[in-house]
């Protein structure tokens, strides 16, 4: 990587930035899920690695969250943007050099930020835990260079229109920059009290709603038509998805604080808008599943489609939960329980991760012109990831329902802890399976780069999957 930082832009091979982002994202995924598994072990067995400040649960928990969101998920997004945006514009990335620098500064900044969090330097605000210097760094050296590269590539495209994926990419990088700058105003300007509490959740809601969800969906809009060869079922439904994300998904931030003393009008408004999240969700899922028409054998045959469609199918329970669990009728029961933890993992480890993994698999093979080293290991990764995730999700959902029941029946709290114990062990097992699957993935991608069969010019990786 270092040799390209100071090379001339023309001398950097196209796709270099995407490859670096791809491998960085996998490594961060391993780090993030490793920390997740470690934290889960502590919840199941509280005296596991005990009495040390650095390895205390409170110091590790947010490092897991941020390694996964800003390392794995966001870097996989950057990887997808670096190769899909130019491909859809029939052009090259605007600046490969900026992309390489972006990846370098991203890894440096994230390592620094996570180290600070780990030592206890935190803003004390969930999801915007980073101290404000790191937030500023993220906006200036991570989000903005990415945004400039994506926008300039779209502007320099050699196609008439802009495809659905690129609307989402272009808007996503803009919105995440705004969310970072506005969502951290409590720290920039020392906002306090309810405004601080509300803006914390405004940030948390929108970093998911205006960055992770739409960009993950945008990736599926590319991979499914590209691999199956079917055109997108409906461009118009894509429009509906895009506009309803911007209008409906950006508004329900207050539904994260339904049981807190916020103004009642705000909670009611957020709750109604929260149900309307079903509009983009149904548009997205139906559009993608209808695009699969006649090509459903790919769901079995092809690794990338297997990942993508699994992610799309997981969006159904995700949005059914998301739309309704925040209404007053349901929220009072499950608020603050493991149900929400399960839901967050359904969004990030289920829906979103599966879509991004497909993009990383497909992109790395396409750019490096190397066929996947081992399809068997790829399938092993898929199943281990899915089983690990499902174990986690189901056990945490059950734990959440136990906590909810205990909450309303005023059961002594320690009895809830005792009742949850088996599910905490199951959660740890699930997380460890996910962690293990990612090590297999890194090995597979590493061997693909070193020993994968070369893909001849004019062929696509998925066409050669079963050829020797």
């Amino acid at each position: 990587m270092f040799k390209y930082l100071f090379a001339r832009n023309e001398d950097i091979p196209p796709g270099t930035a995407a490859v670096y982002f791809g491998y960085s994202s996998i490594i961060w995924f391993i780090i993030g899920t490793g920390l997740g598994s470690f934290n889960a072990a502590k919840l199941a067995f509280p005296d596991f690695v005990t009495g040390s400040e650095l390895f205390a649960f409170g110091h590790m928990r947010q490092v897991h969250v941020h390694a996964v969101i800003f390392g794995w998920i966001s870097m996989a997004f950057a990887m997808a943007m670096m190769y899909i945006t130019p491909a859809l514009g029939n052009t090259r990335l605007w600046s490969e050099k900026l992309g390489v620098w972006n990846c370098f500064l991203w890894n440096v900044g994230l390592s620094l930020g996570l180290t600070l969090l780990w030592t206890g330097m935190t803003s004390g605000r969930e999801y915007s835990d980073f101290p404000w210097i790191i937030d500023l760094y993220i906006a200036a050296f991570i989000a903005l260079p990415l945004a400039i590269n994506v926008w300039m590539t779209i502007l320099k495209r050699r196609t008439q229109g802009i495809y659905t994926t690129n609307w989402f990419f272009g808007a996503g990088v803009f919105m995440v920059t705004i969310v970072f700058l506005v969502g951290n105003t409590p720290e920039w300007f020392q906002l306090t009290g309810l405004s601080e509490a509300y803006l914390t959740w405004w940030f948390a809601h929108n970093v998911l709603g205006l960055w992770i969800t739409p960009v993950a969906a945008a990736i599926a809009y590319y991979t499914v038509p590209k691999i199956t060869g079917n055109p997108l079922y409906s461009h118009r439904i894509g429009h509906l998805h895009f506009w309803s994300v911007v209008v409906f998904y950006s508004t329900p931030a207050a539904h994260h604080l339904m049981s807190a003393p916020l103004p009642e009008w705000l909670k009611s408004f957020a709750s109604v808008e929260g149900v309307l999240i079903l509009v983009p969700a149904i548009a997205f899922v139906s559009n993608l599943l209808l695009t699969m028409t006649g090509k459903w054998h790919y769901f079995v045959d092809n690794l990338e489609i297997k990942f993508t469609i699994t992610g799309v199918l997981l969006a159904i329970p995700l949005n059914m939960q998301g739309g309704f669990q925040q209404t007053r009728a349901i929220n009072w029961y499950i608020h603050g329980t493991g149900w929400i933890v399960a839901h967050a993992h359904l969004a990030l480890l289920g829906f979103s991760t599966f879509l991004e993994a497909a993009a990383v698999y497909y992109g790395l093979q396409t750019i490096m012109r190397r066929k996947l080293y081992s399809l068997t290991l790829g399938n092993f990764h898929f199943w281990l990831l899915l089983i690990g995730f499902a174990t986690y999700w189901i056990s945490m959902t059950i734990a959440g329902l136990i906590q909810g029941a205990a909450k309303i029946y005023e059961v002594p709290y320690i009895d809830t802890v005792i009742a949850e114990h088996p599910y905490m062990i199951a959660r740890w097992v699930g997380g460890t399976l996910v962690f293990t699957s990612n090590i297999v993935w890194l090995y597979n991608m590493w061997m693909t780069a070193r020993a994968g069969t070369e893909i001849p010019a004019g062929r696509l990786p998925h066409e050669l999957a079963y050829e020797r």
Binding site: P46, D47, G58, S123, E187, L194, E196, S250, G336, Q403
Partner: protein, 316 residues
């Protein structure tokens, strides 16, 4: 080839996102910044200090630059006995909370009383100040407001600190910073829910209970009891210390981590704490080789645990 420029689309995008931010940021903020501060909010603001997360006065989040809460039993100037009252001492250079720096965050009424009767506008960070909370009637409404005792009674911070014995000093601001730093709020919420927590965890907070507080650290993922009113349920310092050192000493099924490292190097008598020996003795107790677990060391007054427990016991 004429390229599409998406002029309408980009403008509509601006309108949509701008409109959304207008409704979700601008309108609620107008509403929330006009909330009138309650007595709870004033006491929290004065005991916690300016900021309990990452801040320029405290970049390593160890609780630097925070006020000291004291219980006054006699007048610090005259030495006369008086009804015990809480005062909040800001030694010179300690940053004031938003409540003092920006009195408009107190909401109408509280702001006027604090400025006119409490004279908080005269407080000067570089010289320090002492505050307390008093009550008065404003337009027929009984309100709590902040009094600048340095301006009104001439109490100087050093003088007040010198007149108070160590056991009447509470490092609540530093303790709250440690609560944020050690991330107690990942498991213990500070937010009894409005719907069903009344009986078990007490009354949910009110709209005006948060003015000037930052971070609010509500917590979202409750894996342990809510702590907003914990000291009303259990105010035993002994119990808290045992529970922090090793929660399994008092609650065998607890999944809380041990926070023995907050005892730091030495105990109350200045002896070095031998953690390895303690753990070995505890293991023997667990294996049934000892009848009683080893004694939890009495913490040094400067240790972090003392300050954290000060904060926990202030949650009434």
């Amino acid at each position: 080839m004429a390229f599409r420029e998406y002029k309408i689309g980009t403008r509509l995008f601006g309108v949509a996102l701008g409109g959304s931010m207008m409704i979700t940021l601008y309108f609620p903020t107008i509403d929330m910044t006009s909330v009138q501060a309650t007595e709870v909010a004033l006491r929290k603001a004065l005991s916690a200090g300016r900021q309990n997360g990452f801040a320029y006065e405290d970049p390593f989040v160890t609780g630097e630059g925070k006020p000291v809460t004291v219980v006054l039993r006699k007048d610090p100037v005259t030495g006369e006995k008086m009804e015990p009252m809480e005062a909040y001492v800001f030694p010179p250079g300690t940053p004031f909370p938003s409540a003092i720096r920006h009195p408009r965050t107190l909401g109408s009424g509280v702001k006027e009383l604090s400025l006119q009767q409490g004279r908080i506008g005269e407080a000067d960070e570089s010289r320090g100040a002492v505050f307390y909370v008093d009550h008065a009637t404003y337009q027929g409404e009984k309100l709590a407001y902040i009094v600048n005792a340095t301006a009104i009674k001439g109490w100087q911070p050093e003088q007040v600190l010198a007149s108070v014995p160590e056991e009447d000093k509470k490092y609540i601001g530093t303790g709250k910073t440690l609560f944020v730093r050690e991330q107690c709020w990942w498991c213990h919420t500070l937010l009894p829910e409005q719907t069903q927590d009344w009986q078990y965890f007490g009354v949910p907070p009110r709209l005006g209970d948060f003015n000037s507080e930052g971070p609010t650290a509500f917590g979202s993922d409750r894996k342990a009891p809510d702590l907003l009113h914990v000291a009303s349920r259990n105010s035993s310092r002994e119990w808290m210390l045992m529970h922090f050192f090793n929660p399994r000493l008092v609650q065998p099924h607890s999944i809380m981590p041990r926070f023995d490292y907050l005892w730091d190097e030495v105990d109350a008598n200045g002896n070095k704490i031998d953690y390895a020996a303690w753990r070995k003795a505890y293991e023997e107790y667990e294996e049934g080789k000892r009848i009683y677990p080893p004694e939890v060391p009495e913490p040094h007054p400067d240790s972090r645990i003392r300050k954290l427990v000060d904060f926990i016991l202030s949650l009434k």
